[in-house]
Amino acid sequence: MPEFKRPHALTDAYLHYCPGCTHGIVHRLVAEVIDEMGIEGDTIGVCPVGCSVMAYDYFRCDMMEASHGRSPAVATGIKRANPDKFVFTYQGDGDLAAIGTAETVHAATRGENITVIFINNTTYGMTGGQMAPTTLPGQVTQTTPYGRDTSVEGFPVKICEMLSQLDGVALAQRVTVIDPKNIRIAKEAIRKGFEFQKNKQGFSIIEVLSTCPTNWGMTPVQALDRLRSEMIPYYPLGVFKEGAVR
């Protein structure tokens, strides 16, 4: 029987995330993939501005902290200088799909050999629950107190659908971590991303539908229920694009 323990690629630091937040699970999955591929010493991670801003303290590989939204550009700089190393970014929805949209789209269309872990929890968590580019129509946030009105605030951004149109993308897959089955699918998707990178076969993005009980004003269980009943219908899970681009 394999022993259940902390992956080596995670440090011993206590995570600062709120109870019921799914960041911890996703961190663990990334670390497990790094361990299983034996690439901790060859990996450089880039963390964003947002709740996971301090992920550099949690991953044991070399880490860089990027400015808000610029992780794919920072990762590009690292990767172009070190084409044989593994580079991943870990970004939230405000970071990746609002302020960093240009960097995301262009890293993707260049087929940059990096892996992007994209946490979509439909809100800006760290600043206290404002409207995100992925906030659902009608969703109440601190800056949409009457619910997101699509005639005023427009519509949510569907990143995987959008990026799957680009030739440089090797993998665009949306997953979630609400139960053991989906956790296994999520881990497999992350592994695929790193494999595409290993073979220099293009850009990979794994979008993880995630919870934010604190800013949603819910218990962790209620948050999982909301993800299942409201988010998945709007953001269907699955592979939107898969295949080596070069």
């Binding site: 440090t11 901790e40 010493g41 060859d42 990996t43 450089i44 880039v46 801003v53 301090m54 550099y56 303290d57 991953f59 044991r60 590989c61 070399d62 880490m63 860089m64 902290e65 990027a66 400015s67 610029r70 550009a73 920072v74 990762a75 590009t76 700089g77 690292i78 990767k79 172009r80 200088a81 070190n82 190393k85 240009a102 960097e103 789209v105 262009h106």
Partner: protein
């Protein structure tokens, strides 16, 4: 020194960057610096380097952040409006103590301004290249040969002090052609071997490195900044560069940098012929500003004239350096207008009481 060849300032600078071991260039097209990118897009693949045209100035400077953080010599270039876009990234680079070289081939501003030569970014580059407490090293070449020679110096000092270095040129220097010679060196791309702090994969041989500018404890952030400012003090004490000419007997010293310094020199020669004792002082480092050297050059002067292609920016640093000891006057043209030596000479005559 090898044979001289005729090159544009922008091209000479680009070639010199390769010779300084610059492995990666990230940039975005903007007049009047585009020759740097065009030249490197040709040369980089031939020497094992990377040229990448970014989707924006913002992306380019963040690529620099990533590349510099992994310990590799890298460079970006732009012109005034593009530098404004880069300032966020430059602040992060300074906050994470990363070395890199940034070129600003200045054009007229503010806004989209114009595409003719200007020196109106002096304040921005020397005093406010982004938010927060930090400085960048700033070099101001004045010939095509110097455009080339300054690059190696900029890379070396950026590495030494772990801070960004800026070469502040202008459209005139970037576009003009002059003979230039390069030292006969083998082109060797930089690696991270002398940068133990680099985040380039720990190889299971050391603890993980973190490149970061976030310090949530105020005292920790203060300590970081104070440590950085100690390095700045060393740079201020040891790295200033300037050229003083004919200042020993000068009644008036003309202070000018970059291409304007050449016009000032011609104006000073004209003024000498009219009987005025005029010398010239050219700061080569704008940060750190050569305060001691300026005071030395002005020790016998009665007046100082600062000439710039702006409404007067460096003149503030000249006044600060001289600390009200001498009257400091200003002459400048702006918006892309290049002052003629005759105009400057007329100003000198007015100051010297000759009409």
């Amino acid at each position: 020194m090898a044979e001289k060849s005729l090159m544009k300032g922008n091209e000479a600078l680009a070639e010199a960057a390769l010779r300084a071991g610059c492995k990666c260039f990230f940039g975005y097209p903007i007049t009047p610096q585009t020759e740097i990118a065009a030249y490197l897009s040709k040369r980089m693949p031939k020497v094992g380097g990377t040229f990448l045209q970014a989707e924006s100035e913002v992306a380019a400077i963040n690529m620099i952040y990533g590349c510099a953080g992994s310990g590799i010599r890298c460079m970006t270039s732009s012109s005034s409006p593009g530098i404004s876009l880069k300032t966020e990234g430059i602040s992060y680079i300074a906050g994470a103590d990363l070395p890199c070289v940034i070129i600003n081939v200045q054009r007229g501003g503010p806004g989209l301004g114009g595409i003719q030569p200007s020196q109106a970014d002096y304040w921005q580059v020397t005093h406010a290249l982004g938010h927060g407490d930090f400085h960048a090293l700033v070099f101001a070449p004045s010939t095509v040969q110097e455009m080339a020679d300054t690059v190696t110096k900029a890379f070396d000092l950026a590495d030494k002090y772990r801070m960004p270095a800026v070469i502040l040129a202008d459209g005139l220097l970037g576009q003009m052609m002059e003979p230039v010679a390069f030292e006969d060196v083998e082109i060797k791309m930089s690696d991270a071997s002398n940068k133990p702090w680099a985040a380039n994969g720990h190889g299971n041989k050391r603890e993980h490195n973190i490149i970061n500018s976030l310090f949530l404890q105020p005292t920790e952030l203060e300590d970081k900044i104070k440590e950085r400012f100690k390095r700045y003090e060393t740079a201020k004490a040891t790295e200033t560069l300037a050229v003083a000419e004919n200042c020993e007997d000068a009644d008036i010293v003309v202070v000018a940098y970059g291409s304007t310094a050449r016009l000032a020199k011609s104006a000073a020669e004209m003024a000498r012929k009219s009987g005025l004792k005029v010398g010239t002082f050219r700061p080569v480092t704008l940060w750190p500003f050569p305060e001691k050297e300026l005071n030395e050059a002005c020790k016998n002067a009665k007046k100082v004239l600062t000439v710039e292609m702006s409404m007067g920016q460096m003149v503030d640093d000249v006044k600060l350096a001289l600390n009200c000891r001498l009257p400091v006057e200003f002459y400048g043209r702006t918006g892309g207008v290049v002052p003629s030596p005759a105009e400057i000479c007329n100003k000198l005559k007015e100051m010297g009481g000759i009409n």
